[in-house]
């Protein structure tokens, strides 16, 4: 690491520490403002909310997804802003705040429990949060590690441990308290980092219109495996349709990409954000509707600069990688062979010199190289060889120049990935390759900020879920010191589980894990949360039924229907001897339809039908929920 990078990192850590110290000395969490009857500065509030909302998952994971699927991913930005900010702040924020304060609810499960007068709901919500939120925390952690590894020339595993250590230190040092100034500083760093990334990218590619046109012109370069599932270029939506029942590939998979993009990426995450427990709770820390109105303005801009920039730059990185990328390096071997197994679907591994001729014949050719400054025993880098690749050999001791001429997703193919690459590594690779090294360090701080603010609120939510919402309900004593130990234990378990998952589930995982968690939250929590806020006729049995239907449908779909998750988890194969339960005479498209498409409507329907079919809740209690006096027991 050079001197400038070290100074940047030290200044950043000192600023975080100083603001954290100020937070301790001067009482500046959101609750402190409220105790004092004041509201936080709207920009500070919006930055702090945005920093919690947006993590490395959105920037690295979904940015990489955009590099593969194209600019259609921007529909997620539309939903992020319109649903995640506008609808959330304008319509849901204030009723949540009022109900939370009136019922004295401090966590999402507690809010639901008090709205419906049901401890069962509190425990169910909390268990879902505690069991599945590590999946989302893992996605955030992997996003950080994938970036840190190439910037500092360390292995992915080391980067994952270091990242987890930094986040754990931050969490233990008080990050969980959500000191607003620290969160806001992290939000501000993210804003600056992403703004530079956008300007630098458009600048490098010759301007906004020119960059988009250049990306559009690449549609002939779409690799076969993406074309087969409906990719029509990076500035076009994928082919839309539903494969005919019983049709085998290639026809059976022709519309897969549209359903992955729209149902999983756009809907799963775009709608799922409304039911995120850690974001819902933040509305309760606000002083008034006015604060929410003001914060909506800053929030909209902030999210545009986060996901809008990440997705646009992700897609545009294809132009850079194909036309401009030059790697200054030392070429070690221009005919290294990597094999993906007999079916070509396995993970690529180096072919040993004594391998059979059959393996050598089917293996792919790669160029192995070492970056300047890397030691002789450091692991080599690999890039897929094509006949368009150029290698300019340096004279004497001068380094070589490698021009891979590959589109982004093929650029990510290498040892440990399949032939379809690992899109999680694309944003890191782009930033490292296309932008100056100092920006790589600034961007790493951007990502560290994004990860810390999101993860501290995730761990806060996981901790209180087990401590306050589960343990205290069973222990039958309110707010005891033992529950503090349970809360802390839950946080440690959360960090460890996220770390272990991150170590073993690598490769195209960030967007998928985030979408699974958010979709699960939407299907399980959204109907009972929204109806609970606005519909007095909504009942306790309806909430329980809606939660169970949403959760179990999602779970069933993930385990037995969705090709990617059911195939990956392997439970269906073990129980039924086949990768998923979609009958052979059904359309193959069902295997890429996201659970949310089925589970959320079912969950809403269940809520409405059961509510209308069951006895209304006690009128005095309902009046209390909506602002009336507490009924006498």
């Amino acid at each position: 690491m050079d001197l400038l990078s070290i100074i940047l990192v030290i200044v950043y850590l000192m600023a975080t520490g100083y603001l954290g110290y100020l937070g301790y000395k001067q009482t500046k969490t959101a609750a402190d403002y409220l105790v004092a009857g004041r509201s936080a500065n709207p920009i500070v509030m919006a930055l702090s909310y945005g920093a919690t909302f947006i993590s490395t998952s959105a920037i690295v994971g979904f940015g990489g997804t955009a590099a593969s699927l194209g600019m259609g991913v921007l529909w997620l930005t539309v939903l992020n802003i319109f649903v995640g900010i506008f609808i959330a702040f304008v319509f849901l924020g204030n009723p949540t705040r009022r109900m939370g304060h009136h019922l004295d609810a401090h966590t999402f499960p507690e809010l639901i429990a008090k709205r419906y007068d049901s401890r069962l709901l509190q425990v169910l919500c909390a268990l879902i949060i505690f069991c599945f939120m590590p999946l989302y925390a893992m996605a955030v952690m992997v996003g950080g590690a994938e970036f840190m590894a190439p910037i500092f020339h360390i292995s992915y595993d080391s980067a994952l441990y270091i990242f987890a250590l930094i986040v754990a230190a931050y969490v233990i040092a008080g990050g969980l308290k959500g000191v607003m100034l620290t969160d806001a500083m992290q939000g501000a760093i993210m804003l600056v980092g992403m703004a530079i990334l956008l300007v630098a990218t458009y600048g490098r590619l010759g301007g906004v219109t020119e960059a988009h046109a250049a990306l559009g012109a690449l549609k002939d370069q779409v690799p076969g495996f993406l074309k087969a599932i409906g990719h029509q270029g990076w500035t076009a939506m994928p082919k839309f349709g539903f494969a005919e029942p019983g049709l085998a590939p290639p026809g059976g998979v022709a519309y897969h990409m549209w359903w992955i993009l729209v149902s999983t990426i756009v809907m799963g995450v775009g709608i799922g954000v409304l039911a995120q427990p850690q974001l819902i709770v933040r509305f309760m820390t606000v002083k008034s509707k006015q604060s929410l109105n003001r914060a909506a303005a800053a929030g909209g801009i902030f999210i545009l600069f986060m996901t809008g920039v990440a997705f646009t730059v992700g897609a545009l990185s294809n132009v850079y990688f194909l036309q401009q990328e030059e790697i200054v390096c030392q070429v070690v071997d221009d005919a290294a062979l990597l094999d993906a197994g007999a079916d070509g679907k396995g993970k690529l591994a180096l072919v040993p010199a004594n391998a059979s001729d059959e393996i050598k014949a089917r293996a792919k050719r790669f160029v192995a190289y070492r970056l300047p400054g890397a030691s002789d025993d450091s692991p080599l880098n690999y890039v897929l060889w094509t006949d368009k690749m150029e290698i300019v050999q340096g004279e004497g001791d001068a380094p070589d120049t490698l021009k891979p001429r590959l589109i982004a997703v093929l650029r990510s193919v290498g040892p440990g990935t399949t032939l379809q690459g690992n899109t999680d590594t694309l944003i890191p690779a782009y930033v490292r390759s296309a932008l100056p090294h100092w920006f790589g360090v600034v961007f790493m701080l951007t990502l560290l900020s994004a990860a810390m603010s999101t993860m501290s609120s995730q761990f806060h939510t996981m901790g209180t879920a087990l401590g306050r919402d589960v343990f205290e309900q069973f222990a039958h004593h309110q707010h005891g010191s033992k529950s503090i130990h349970v809360t802390r234990f839950a946080i440690i378990v959360g960090i460890v589980v996220a770390l272990v998952l991150g170590k073993y589930v690598r490769g195209n995982i960030i967007a998928l894990a985030t979408a699974i968690f958010m979709g699960l939250c939407a299907s399980s929590f959204l109907p009972m949360f929204v109806f609970g806020l606005f519909w007095k006729r909504m009942t306790k049995p309806a909430a329980v039924a809606s939660l169970l239907v949403g959760f179990l449908t999602s779970g069933f779909w993930l385990l037995f229907v969705n090709g990617k998750t059911a195939g990956g988890l392997g439970l269906c194969q073990a129980w039924f001897g086949k990768p998923n339960l979609v009958p052979a005479d059904w359309s193959l498209t069902w295997t890429v339809v996201d659970p949310i498409v089925v589970a959320l409507p079912l969950s809403i329907l269940t809520a409405v039908v059961v509510a209308l079919a069951t006895k209304p809740m006690d009128k005095a209690y309902v009046d209390y929920v909506y602002g009336g006096p507490k009924p006498q027991a």
């Binding site: 409220l34 105790v35 809008g308 809360t487």
Partner: protein, 58 residues
């Protein structure tokens, strides 16, 4: 073609992202001074408990 993007379904997403952000800004500015509510006792009690029971536990 808008902003160099050929497909209407994609340039619409690009334009709507910007439009949604503008909507948030306009809404925020128009309602800048609306929605001020007096702080009630239950609000302060909530915040006090949040501090003592929740934040301190962490």
């Amino acid at each position: 073609m808008v902003l160099g993007i050929e497909s209407p379904a994609v340039w619409l997403a690009y334009v709507l992202s910007l439009a949604s952000a503008v909507l948030c800004v306009v809404y925020g500015i128009v309602h800048w001074n609306k929605g001020e509510e007096p702080v009630k006792k239950e609000d302060v009690d909530w915040a006090k408990e949040e501090k003592t029971e929740v934040e301190d536990a962490l």
